[in-house]
């Protein structure tokens, strides 16, 4: 019989090894899945993990990794701070949308003025939009004790309606021949979040994501506020005893995660996407929740997890088009990754032992 035995201390070695073991297990079981679907498993796995990085067309895919990975990391970093403290912002998607609307709106308000300060104003407006949207669940929770999970999630659908409304009305391109959607910010120099190095995929959102990683790392490891966040998550009573003000923490965590999600939306709308349109949001805000946990709520882990997620998205798309794998198979593959990661996570806190069934 196999028993689980709780370790007196979480194992450091396993906490680093489990992501690798999980990726390997996903490759093995994903390979089996692809084989059952009648594809060559080695080729399929190779396509997903190798092609985007080192394949023939990697010059095209590599920048895509940054474009897809950056918003995931930026949002996930914000979410992870709240998750650490047991504050569950599930509505990053809505804050992402509001950031895009505010950011793009601020930029378009100046159209066609050409000035250096327009883009910084858009950055601030984007962060403000996300922050504002996150403050709704935050204040409701602090004042009336509502559940932030429900409120933030519901606000995603409200934000989607707002997005549709502004795409059709307020921000609609006057020269767009009646089609929904705003002017393309890519063709408005002062508001364009252009690639910093042409063809690299490196835009300001990537820079912001990296800064956020460093900021979160310093906050959690060097600052009292980060200590209080971790303390609240691990032992709420001890946090209260230590003098942590829960209301302030809720406002901070929700506000920051909202602002970062808003930034991600703003960088997306002014860069890779370019237009505010009805189908602007593609689920980064929800995927970022997975990224945050995949990176075990650790800033560096989130950076790697965001990269891995982006890789499976892009590799999955290549596998779909080149090998004709069904999209559902790719989703199962991504699901496996999360499943194995959470499953192997157990080894950090427990050891597996073969128990002797008899007493000698």
């Amino acid at each position: 019989m196999i028993v689980l035995e709780k370790r007196p201390q979480p194992s450091k070695a396993w906490s680093y090894a489990t992501p690798l073991v999980a990726v390997l297990a996903t490759m093995v079981f994903g390979g089996v899945l692809f084989a059952i679907l009648g594809k060559n498993p080695v080729e399929a796995i190779g396509t997903i993990f190798w092609e985007p990085l080192f394949g023939e067309f990697s010059f095209y895919y590599r920048p895509q990794l940054l474009v897809k990975g950056a918003p995931l990391v930026l949002i996930a970093i914000g979410l992870s701070l709240g998750f650490r403290a047991g504050i569950w912002n599930i509505g990053a998607e809505g804050q992402y949308i509001m950031g895009a609307i505010f950011g793009a709106g601020a930029g378009l308000a100046f159209y066609p003025l050409d000035a250096w300060y327009i883009f910084p104003i858009m950055v601030i407006a984007g962060a403000f939009g996300g922050w504002l949207w996150a403050m709704i669940p935050a204040i409701l929770k602090v004042r009336f004790g509502t559940n932030e999970i429900l409120v933030s999630l519901m606000l995603v659908y409200v934000a989607e309606q707002m997005l549709a409304s502004v795409s059709l009305g307020l921000l609609k391109n006057p020269e767009g021949f009646g089609f929904p959607g705003s002017r393309n910010l890519q063709s408005y120099e002062s508001a364009h979040n252009a690639e910093l190095i042409a063809g690299s995929g490196m835009h300001w959102g990537v820079v912001a994501a990296l800064i956020a990683v460093i900021f979160a790392y310093v906050l959690l490891n060097r600052h009292m506020l980060g200590f209080h966040i971790r303390l609240t998550g691990e032992a709420p009573r001890a946090a209260k005893f230590a003098g942590v003000n829960p209301a302030r923490l809720i406002l901070f965590c929700l506000g920051l995660s909202g602002a970062l999600a808003g930034l991600a939306g703003m960088f997306e709308v002014s860069g890779p996407s370019g237009v505010v349109s009805i189908d602007f949001n593609v689920g980064y805000g929800f995927t970022a929740i997975i990224v945050a946990f995949l990176g075990r709520l650790h800033p560096v882990g989130i950076l790697l997890a965001g990269f891995l997620m982006a890789l499976t998205y892009i590799g999955g798309e290549i596998a779909q088009s080149q090998l004709g794998l069904p999209a559902a198979a790719i989703q199962v593959f991504q699901g496996m990754l999360l499943f194995f990661l959470l499953a192997f996570d157990l080894l950090t806190n427990y050891r597996i032992r073969a128990a002797r069934s008899e007493v000698a």
Binding site: P10, R222, R237, A238, K240, F241, A242, N245
Partner: protein, 505 residues
């Protein structure tokens, strides 16, 4: 010689890094009350868990009435007549007594039958208990009765009791002993775990002493002095806490007309509490658990805010201040619950040192933590209070209860407070560690700190406190000088016997 009820032979159990039990052998006779003594970490819990089927021994055998006994799980142990009352109750506050008992049974009878069985057993053994009362409303002593009756319904041959008297008033202890004596006279054997040596001397027939996992001796408690037993347990000579001089200064802590509702549904509201503590004075607050101790600590620590004037420190109203502001002034507290309240279980000792030490020890600057200073502070606590751990990077939960308690108390004591409030400072702590903690409290008082010690251990309060008051249903009795107080007077201050009656033997 007759076959003993349970015979343990060479039981060994090793955990990674520590041998919890090393070749432990002893016998428990039929109808015998057998004491198991030992410091924290001596391996008592592991041993009883093996008997109860929660842990499997690595080697060694157990014989129950001559038959090999190796319970794979508690259910099997219960089927063979072993019952256990744990130190921590496993009861649901929102359910009534009968429902709680039914939850622990394999095939619970209909509720009506069960209720009458409970009444019957409780009357036979002098443990009056209404089966339809909600457990959340019961006192700690009454909750323990629920656990005991739950065991007695199985008609056990061996009843294991882990520190049963730690939550009882003297009168309740007396009643418990009557019950246990009655069980003994009916032929039930009892394995009794306790730190309280005087109790063991009055109650137990035999005692086995464990130290560092080994059986280091046996004695007949009635013929051995408490001090000798303690020294066998510790393996060295024991220091009795001493204090120099009892001179009191001005009033440091002044609580007047303090009334607060309890933050939790099953808590106790504090009602019009008055007390003053002078510099250098130790005020002991007794009372059965659940009579407002947690709330009193919460109010004094700043976790539960109250009217500003209700609490004054050196004349300054501090009732509205939060924990951090009070620490800054010099009012420090150490709550009862070590894991999760006084310390964060999964965080390192260094981080736990920061938890309350950040303000007074200057462990932060502009909000940034000073890791090396914090680590130094943690190491100072570990050194000064002999906390046994490989180092400050270890998680709090990896420490034994007593060691973590030393750390928690040490953390506050080393910050040289002006007022120190401790709740159950030596709860579940072995004799040597308890003596060290009490000594530290007395040393602090000798330096002029006003100390409030909330405890359920009356011996402890008599030993260290200058004045004594008792909490009963959220009301605090008027403090009286400790010298000259009799046990009966204390019992009355604590609110009598809570409707208990002596067993009809």
């Amino acid at each position: 010689m007759t076959t003993p009820l349970l015979s343990l032979q060479g039981l060994t159990k090793a955990y990674p890094g520590v041998v919890a039990n090393d070749q432990v052998s002893f016998d428990i006779g039929e109808g015998e009350v057998h004491a198991l003594l030992g410091e924290n970490g001596a391996g008592k819990s592991t041993l009883v868990k093996m008997i109860y089927g929660l842990v499997k021994p690595d080697s060694g055998t157990m014989l129950l009435r001559g038959q090999v006994f190796a319970p794979p799980e508690p259910r099997a142990a219960r089927a063979d007549g072993i019952a256990m009352v744990f130190q921590h109750f496993s009861l649901f506050d929102a359910l009534n007594v009968a429902e709680n008992i039914a939850l622990g049974m394999e095939n619970p009878p209909p509720m009506g039958d069960l209720a009458s069985r409970i009444r019957e057993v409780s009357e036979t053994y002098g443990l009056p208990l209404d089966p339809y009362r909600t457990v959340g409303d019961l006192s700690a002593g009454e909750r323990q009765r629920v656990e005991i009756i739950r065991c007695l319904l199985q008609d056990p041959k061996l009843l294991i009791m882990d520190e049963p008297t730690s939550v009882l008033t003297p009168q309740e202890v007396e009643i418990l002993f009557e019950t246990l004596n009655k069980l003994r006279s009916e032929g039930t054997s009892i394995l009794y775990i306790s730190h309280k040596l005087e109790e063991i001397r009055t109650l137990c027939d035999h005692a086995t002493i464990l130290r560092l996992g080994k059986n280091v001796g046996a004695c007949i408690p009635a013929e051995t002095s408490a001090r000798d037993m303690a020294e066998m347990m510790v393996g060295s000579t024991l220091q009795t806490p001493e204090r120099s001089g009892r001179e009191f200064g001005d009033v440091a802590l002044d609580v007047s007309g303090l009334s607060v509702p309890s933050p939790s549904e099953f808590g106790t509201a504090l009602k019009n509490v008055h007390m003053t503590v002078r510099k250098g004075e130790v005020l002991g607050i007794g009372g059965v658990a659940g009579n407002g101790q947690d709330e009193l600590l919460g109010v004094l620590s700043g976790e539960i805010p109250t009217a500003a004037d209700a609490i004054k420190f050196n004349g300054q109203p501090i009732g509205k201040l939060g924990p951090t502001a009070r620490r800054k002034l010099g009012v420090l507290t150490a709550p009862e619950e070590r894991l999760g309240h006084a310390a964060a279980p999964d965080m390192s000792l260094t981080e736990n040192a920061l938890l309350t030490g950040s303000v007074r020890e200057g462990l932060e600057s502009n909000g940034f933590m000073k890791w090396s200073e914090t680590k130094n502070f943690a190491e100072r606590i570990i050194g000064a209070f002999d906390v046994r751990t490989p180092g400050p990077d270890n998680a709090a939960r990896s420490l034994s209860g007593g060691n973590l308690q030393k750390f928690v108390i040490g953390r506050e004591v080393l910050q040289s407070p002006d007022v120190l409030v401790v709740n159950q400072p030596t709860w579940g702590v072995d004799a040597a560690a308890a003596a060290a903690i009490r000594q530290a409290i007395l040393d602090l008082a000798a330096k002029g700190t006003a100390v409030v010690c909330i405890s359920q251990d009356l011996d402890e309060l008599m030993e260290i406190s200058d004045s004594f008051a008792a909490l009963n249903e959220g009301r605090l009795s008027a403090p009286r000088e400790t010298t000259g107080l009799t046990v009966d007077e204390i019992g009355l201050m604590m609110g009598g016997a809570h409707g208990m009656e002596v067993a009809h033997v």
